[in-house]
Structure formats: structure tokens, C-alpha cells
Chain length 203, copies 2
DNA sequence: TGCAAATTTGCAATGGATGAAAAAATGATT
DNA sequence: AATCATTTTTTCATCCATTGCAAATTTGCA
């Protein structure tokens, strides 16, 4: 595929970027609910209607890089190292996902603010959960394919669901307690280890 | 507290019930998105505005008994049997939750249709996920309290998150494949067992 | 240049959601 | 039973997200 994009494509990318940056800036300045799509579009210098040809809704702007992150994880699973155990692969995928901040092509500094938005705004929390769930579904399918002769679909789902479920709940609880990112990360790590070892390892 | 409710309370319960039944009936007949709140309110013989003093939004009508289900699970955890292991308690709670259809006080027959709605309508899926995670959060806290000297908050979160995460993802995937309720239940059971034993038990 | 396809825009309409004040229903008191 | 305070419902007005449609604009290409 050619890296040379036509004027049309370049313009679209610019508009998309402008919408994302305008939206995130407004959300930080005035809050999510307080910022209207009309304002976002105006700040990006396009019509309100055009916003909806770039994003399905107001919530989606915040998760603009979700697809890229998922694709990266899917790729890692599909290209798993020969002989690598499921556990090792999952640990590698999750730590990579936590480290990688964002789509290299787009703003990176806004990440912490975004995380805060995602945790506090109900609509975004809901959207994030939905995305997380869809991600798990796809990861489970990829895992099943990558270990076709070892994991049936249910086992793959159980593996993904338990590891990600444990990590997610643990990190959410820590975050709500106002703990530092390091503590949150450590909690997620511990939760994953518990999920890997099984519940017998505690209590 | 007295079981004798005043006319005011009784009327409110009746209105609430009327709204729920009207909504679920309309959702079945015309679909969720196609039914407007105005129609629901009209069918329940109240004003549109009144709808919002009973439910925060359109989605919430569908989950009218969510609180009762959660309360039941919380109660089971709080009143855990002396000497019962975490694993045994969780198995008991989940199977009870699957068996119990609904709030005894309210319509029960609509449950299968409701389940179908929850799986197919995007807005309801999202709402359901949010409710599921809030539930997990509360269950994790209850589990921590019930086993205060054995589980710290992170371990409790890992336990709840891994078991429920595994069961949820597995059952959703099975449901999407159009499998029978029995198969779905079996998959959930298997996924929970994997989560309990740990990922080492597979692959 | 000139045409075809893609994109943006303006406009109108729908429907969810909220705020505020008037109206109606209810419970308590005399 | 009549009256008053409280709760609930209704009415009305408004905001905003979202969508469909057709006109206008831009871009890619011959």
C-alpha cells in the first residue's frame, strides 16, 4: 500500500485531528456535558453535521485511538512466538497495552486528562465498558485461533475474561481510591497474577 | 417498619409497575428504539414528564429489578456460612443469581424477552455492562468485608473480576452463537471453573 | 476544462432529558 | 367535613444529540 495520500485523504485526517483536539480541549475547559457538538465543530471549523461523518457520537471522540490499540493487541496474539505459553503471551500483551500510550500519529499529552474523563463522566464510562467488552470478545477469538489446537472458544473466553476482568476491576477500585498510577498498575498486575494462578491461590 | 403502605405509596408502586409493563410490552411489540417515552407514558396513563420521576432514563426501565438481584447477592456474601471457602461461596452466589428469575413482586414472564432485548439493543447492552461492573465493584467490597482477615481489597476484586469476567465473556460469546440456554449455562460454568483453577489448567 | 464522485453544508424534524411553576391528589388537623 | 401543608403530577418551554435529505462545494481524473 502506498504511503502517499491524496489531498482528499490528507484533508480528512486533518479535519479528524482538528475535531479530536477541539473536543478534548473543550472537555477539559468546560467539562464533557457542558460542551456541545456545535461548539466542537465550530472550534474545528466545520459544520455540526460534518462532526457526525467522522464520529458516530459525542462519546466516540474520546476513544479515537481505541481501534489502533486493539489492533496492536490482536496482532501480538496472531503473531505469537512459537512455543510461548498462553499465560506468557497474555502477560506480554497486557503490559504492552499499558505501556503504549496512544496512537503515535495523534496527540499524546492529553492521555491523563482523557483517563480522568473516562472515569468520571457516566456516558464515557459506559462507552468505555462497551469498548472493553468488544475488545475482550475479539481478543478471545484471536486467542482461540492462535492456539487452535489447545484452546476451544470457551477456554479462550475464560482466559481473556478472567485475566482482563480481574485486572479491570482491581484497577478501577484502586483508581477510585485515588491511588497513584504506580499503585494502580501494581494492583492490576497482582490481580492478573491471581487470575492466572486461580482463586485457590488466595483465601 | 410497617407493611401497611399509605395510598400514596401504593399508587406509586402501581404507577411504577404500569410503566414497566407498558414499556416492556411496547419494546416487544415495536422494538426498543421505535418506542418513545411519550408512548410508554401514555400507555401507563401518566404524563411524559412523570416517567422521569420513576426512571432516570429509557434504559433503566428494562433493568428495574437489578437492585433487588444485587441486594440478594450482597446478602448472601455478607451472611456467608462459617468456614465456607471463597470459592464455594462464589459458586453458591452465582448459581443462585442465575436461577432466581426476578423480583418476586413484579412480572416474571417477561424475563426471556428482556434478556433478548438486553443482548441486541446497543443502548441496553451498554447499560447492562455498566450495571454489571457496578455490581462487581460492590460484590468485591462485600467479599473483602466477609473475609476481612483473608482477602485484601485487591484480592477480593481479582476474585470477583476473574470469575465474573470469565463467566460473562463465555456466556456472551455462546449466546451470540445462538446456542441453547443450557449450552450457555454450561459454558458459563466451565469458564468459572477455569477462572477458579487458574489459567494453568488449560493450554 | 469539464465531468463524476466524494464531501460538506444547511435545514428540518425527531426524541430524550431537564427545569420551573401551576394544578391536582393526599394526609393530617381541627 | 373543611382546611392547610406536603407530595406528586402535569404542563410548558427549552436544550441538545442525532438523523435524513437535498443542495452546494471540493477533489480526482480524463
Amino acid at each position: 500500500m502506498s504511503d502517499v495520500l491524496g489531498l482528499r485523504e490528507r484533508k480528512k485526517l486533518r479535519t479528524r485531528r482538528a475535531l479530536i483536539e477541539a473536543a478534548l480541549r473543550l472537555f477539559q475547559e468546560k467539562g464533557y456535558e457542558e460542551s456541545t457538538i456545535a461548539e466542537i465543530a465550530a472550534a474545528a471549523d466545520v459544520s455540526t453535521r460534518t462532526f457526525f461523518s467522522y464520529f458516530a457520537g459525542k462519546e466516540d471522540v474520546v476513544f479515537f485511538d481505541g481501534q489502533a490499540r486493539v489492533d496492536a493487541a490482536l496482532k501480538m496474539i496472531a503473531e505469537r512466538r512459537a512455543g510461548e505459553s498462553v499465560v506468557d503471551l497474555l502477560l506480554r500483551v497486557t503490559s504492552h497495552s499499558l505501556d503504549t500510550v496512544s496512537d503515535a500519529d495523534l496527540t499524546v499529552e492529553l492521555t491523563p486528562a482523557r483517563r480522568h474523563l473516562m472515569m468520571t463522566v457516566p456516558a464515557l464510562r459506559a462507552r468505555g465498558l462497551h469498548l472493553l467488552y468488544e475488545t475482550q470478545r475479539r481478543l478471545a477469538e484471536a486467542l482461540h485461533l492462535a492456539y487452535a489446537d489447545e484452546l476451544d472458544p470457551i477456554e479462550a473466553a475464560a482466559a481473556i475474561g478472567s485475566v482482563m476482568g480481574a485486572a479491570h476491576l482491581a484497577t478501577m477500585i484502586c483508581t477510585d481510591r485515588g491511588e497513584t498510577p504506580e499503585q494502580v498498575w501494581a494492583a492490576g498486575r497482582r490481580a492478573m497474577e491471581i487470575a492466572i494462578r486461580g482463586l485457590g491461590s488466595i483465601g
